[in-house]
């Protein structure tokens, strides 16, 4: 078994400016309906979206792909019942994770100083196709 680590940061004010300029076109291009509902449209929305964007980028780093578009929404950030952020992969992102033997991804998001940061740690079992978390 091996471990992969990905990290990314995102300025919250940049996300706020994008939402202000592009509105729903911006959010719907990057985030799933559940993510959009989870972030809401209140004063903390930009922080929520920034954390999720950083998480998606951190996951993209461990998936080792140069694609920057279609898999934004195939990498979804969810909250566990206890409130802990989790990563759910769909479609192309799930396929890549399976092909790389990634069994599970653990996520932590932090907000502060106008920055959202995300760290992901992936558990990789070489030579084995992981199917536990990436069913669809």
């Amino acid at each position: 078994m091996s471990i992969l680590v990905g990290i990314d940061v995102q300025a919250i004010d940049e996300v706020e400016a994008s939402i202000k300029e592009f509105g729903a076109r911006y959010t719907h291009r990057l985030f799933t309906d559940d993510e959009i509902a989870s972030c809401g449209d209140g004063p903390g929305a930009a922080s929520g979206f920034a954390g999720r964007f950083a998480a998606k980028e951190a996951v993209l780093k461990i998936l080792e792909s140069n694609e920057i578009g279609p898999r934004w929404k195939s990498i979804e950030v969810r909250r566990s019942l206890g409130g802990r952020p989790e990563v759910a992969l769909h479609g192309a992102a799930a396929e890549i994770a399976r092909s790389q033997g990634i069994e599970e991804i653990f996520l932590s998001i932090s907000l502060g100083g106008g920055i959202a940061s995300a760290t992901v740690i992936a558990q990789v079992t070489q030579g084995r196709i992981g199917a536990r978390q990436w069913a669809t």
């Binding site: 994008s18 920057i68 578009g69 279609p70």
Partner: protein
Amino acid sequence: MGDVTVTIRDVLEAHGRLLVSLSNLSDDDDLFENGLTSHASVNVMLAIEDAFDVEFPDSLLTKSTFESIKALREALESMGVEAPSD
């Protein structure tokens, strides 16, 4: 096609958050090496869609599409853009 390049440069000036002046970049220079982030790429994509009334298909949403002004121009050409939107 020159006017398309001008519009791309205007979009990058407004949304690219590059670390250098556009006037110092050639059409072939790597935008990511000059400060373009993934998030800024999203804004560039949306602003270009507005400027040219197009929508980038999933097949063009790769890092290579946004790596240079030339690459963006070629992407627009592949979407049928031949004249400036104004």
